[in-house]
Amino acid sequence: MSKILVIADHDNVAAKKITLNTIDFAKQLIAKKGGSFDIAVIGNGCGSAAAGLTGYGAGAVHVVEHADLAHPLAQGFAKVVADLAKSIGADVVAMSASSLGKDAMPRVAVRLQAGMASDVIGIVDAGGAVAFRRPMWAGNLVGDVVIDTAVQVVTVRSSAFDAIAASGGASPVQSFAADPGASRAKFVRFEGTQSSRPDLTEAAVVVAGGRGLKDRFGPITEPLADLLGGAIGASRAAVDDGFAPNDYQIGQTGKVVAPQLYFAIAISGAVQHLAGMKNSKTIVAINKNADEPIFKVADYGLVADAFTAVPELVSKIKAVRS
C-alpha cells in the first residue's frame, strides 16, 4: 500500500496539463502497489488551480499558499513539499520533470532521506520489486532502477504518460500551512517568451526548426505551426545562434515531446535532438541533405530546400483542406 503525493505544476490560476500526466503515473503505481494519492497545489493565490483538480480521484487536494511561493525557488518549495509529505505520511512524492520539478525534487529527496529517480517513463517489475524505467545516455539506453529507501521521490516524463480525463467525484480541498523558511536566494525577475501558441509539451503538432533557417526561422516555422494549431520547437544549434528562444529547445537537455505530428525542418538529427522527439507518432523531416541522420527516424522524408518547400507545404495543405 502506497500513499503518493502528486505535486501539481500550475500558474496559480489553473493546473498545467502535465499535472494530469503525473496523476496517470500515480494511478499506474497504485495499480501495481495498491494505495491512494493526494495532490498538492503549492503557490500563492492558487485556490482556483486546486479547485480544478478535485475531479481526478485524489484522497485530498492540499492547497499550500505563501507570499514567498508566488515565484517558487527550490529551497523553500522543497521544504514545503517535504513538510506536507511528512504530515500526510506519503511514501512516494512525484512531480513532472518540469524545470521546477528538476530544480526542487532532489532537495525534497534529501529532506525525506529518500532515493530519487529522474524522468521516469514507466513502472516495471524487477525481481519482485517495483522499478522505475528511465532514459539514460540521451535515451540510447533505458535503465530500470530500484529505490531502496522507505520514501521515494520521482520526476515523471510527461510525454510517457497520458493526460488523463477527470474521473468524477469531489476530492476535499484542504489547506496546509506553508513555512518556506529563510533562504539566501531571492527571485529577481522572469523574462517570459511571449507566445499565443500551445505549450510545446502539450501540443498535438510541433514544428521544429534548425540552425539552417537562420534569421528566417520565424517566417518559415510560424505559418505552418499556426495552420495546424501547433507549437514551435528548435534544435540546440538554432537556440545557441539566437534564432529561437531557449525554451524552444527540444532534446536531451531541453524539452521532451511526443506529439501526433512532428516536423523537423532543416534539423540534422543529432542524438541529443532525437532524445527529445523520437517518440513522436508521425515524424516528417525536410532537409536538403539526404544523408542527415534525421531521415533514419522520419516516417516521411522530403529532400528539399526548406525555404521553398515549407511555404509550398503551407499553401498546399490549405488548398486540400478547402
Binding site: 529551497q75 530500484v146 539566501r184 537537455t253 531521415f295
Partner: protein, 252 residues
C-alpha cells in the same frame, strides 16, 4: 574566493554503447569524454577567476581513480584550474545521492564560496547532484545557469526555465549548475597541458571521507536498449508529402 568545480568523465553518448554482461552498466571498453556540462562549469570558474582575480579554483572528480585523475588533469587543470581532487568510486554503483555526499565532505574540507557543477551528466542523465548537494549543505542554489555575474556580495544568475528566463540573486556560499549556453568552453593550450602535469592532485578513497553509511539509495536492476525507430519513406515532392500525411497518416 574559492570555487569548487565538477570534472566528471562520461562514456561518449555518441559512441556505440554495449550493456555489460550483468545488464547493470555499459561495457568498460568505451570512449570517454569530459561531461559537456562540466566543461561549461570549468569555463565559468576560469572566467570568474580571470575577471575578479584572487580566486582559487579546485576541480573535483569522482570515479575510477586513474582514469578520473587523467580527466581532471587534462580537462580541468590543463585548462587552468589550480588543483584537483579525485575521489575513487565504482561508477557503475555510486548514485547521485552518494556523489552529492562525497561533494559535501570535500566542501567541508575545502570551504569553497561557490560550487559550480554541470547540470547533469550525459551518461546517467539524472540532473540531481547540484541540487542534492545544496540541500545537504543547506545552501541556496541556482540550477540551469546561462549567465553568472558577481555583483558586490551577490551572485546574479540567469536560469533557463520553462517559459523563458528567470533571474535570481544568491549570496555566497552557494551552488550553481551550468547549462550549455553559459559559455563556450576553451581548449587547453600546450603550455596549459605542460603546467597541468605539475599541479597538485589529491586522492581520496570513499573510506577516507567519513561518510557514515556509504550505501547508494538507488540501484540499476537492469539496462536495455530501446527498440529503435524504423526509417520511413522518402517522398517525391510536397504534393506527395501532403497526400501521404492526409491519406496514409491521417494527421492533417
Amino acid at each position: 574566493m574559492k570555487i569548487l568545480v565538477s570534472a566528471k568523465r562520461v562514456s561518449d553518448p555518441n559512441a556505440k554503447l554495449a550493456i555489460s554482461g550483468d545488464g547493470k552498466w555499459v561495457e568498460g571498453d568505451v570512449e570517454y569524454v569530459m561531461n559537456y556540462f562540466c566543461e561549461n562549469a570549468i569555463e565559468c570558474a576560469l572566467a570568474l577567476a580571470e575577471e575578479h582575480g584572487d580566486v582559487e579554483t579546485v576541480a573535483l572528480g569522482v570515479g575510477e581513480s586513474d582514469e578520473t585523475g587523467r580527466f581532471v588533469r587534462q580537462g580541468a587543470l590543463a585548462r587552468g584550474i589550480d588543483r584537483g581532487i579525485v575521489v575513487s568510486a565504482d561508477e557503475a554503483i555510486i548514485d547521485s545521492d552518494l556523489i552529492a555526499r562525497v561533494y559535501q565532505k570535500i566542501v567541508e574540507k575545502e570551504s569553497p564560496d561557490l560550487v559550480l557543477i554541470g547540470k547533469q551528466s550525459v551518461d546517467g542523465d539524472s540532473n540531481q547532484v547540484g541540487q542534492l548537494l545544496a540541500e545537504y549543505l543547506d545552501w541556496p542554489q541556482a540550477t540551469f545557469a546561462s549567465k553568472v555575474e558577481i555583483k558586490g556580495d551577490q551572485i546574479e544568475v540567469t536560469r533557463e526555465v520553462d517559459g523563458g528566463l528567470e533571474v535570481v540573486a544568491l549570496s555566497m556560499p552557494c551552488v550553481i549548475t551550468a547549462d550549455l549556453r553559459l559559455n563556450e568552453p576553451r581548449f587547453a593550450s600546450l603550455a596549459g597541458i605542460m603546467k597541468a602535469k605539475k599541479k597538485p592532485l589529491d586522492e581520496y578513497e570513499l573510506d577516507d571521507l567519513d561518510l557514515g553509511d556509504a550505501a547508494p539509495k538507488v540501484r540499476i536492476a537492469k539496462m536495455t536498449t530501446p527498440s529503435g525507430r524504423k526509417a520511413g519513406v522518402l517522398v517525391k515532392d510536397v504534393d506527395d508529402l501532403v497526400a501521404k500525411l492526409r491519406g496514409e497518416a491521417r494527421v492533417i
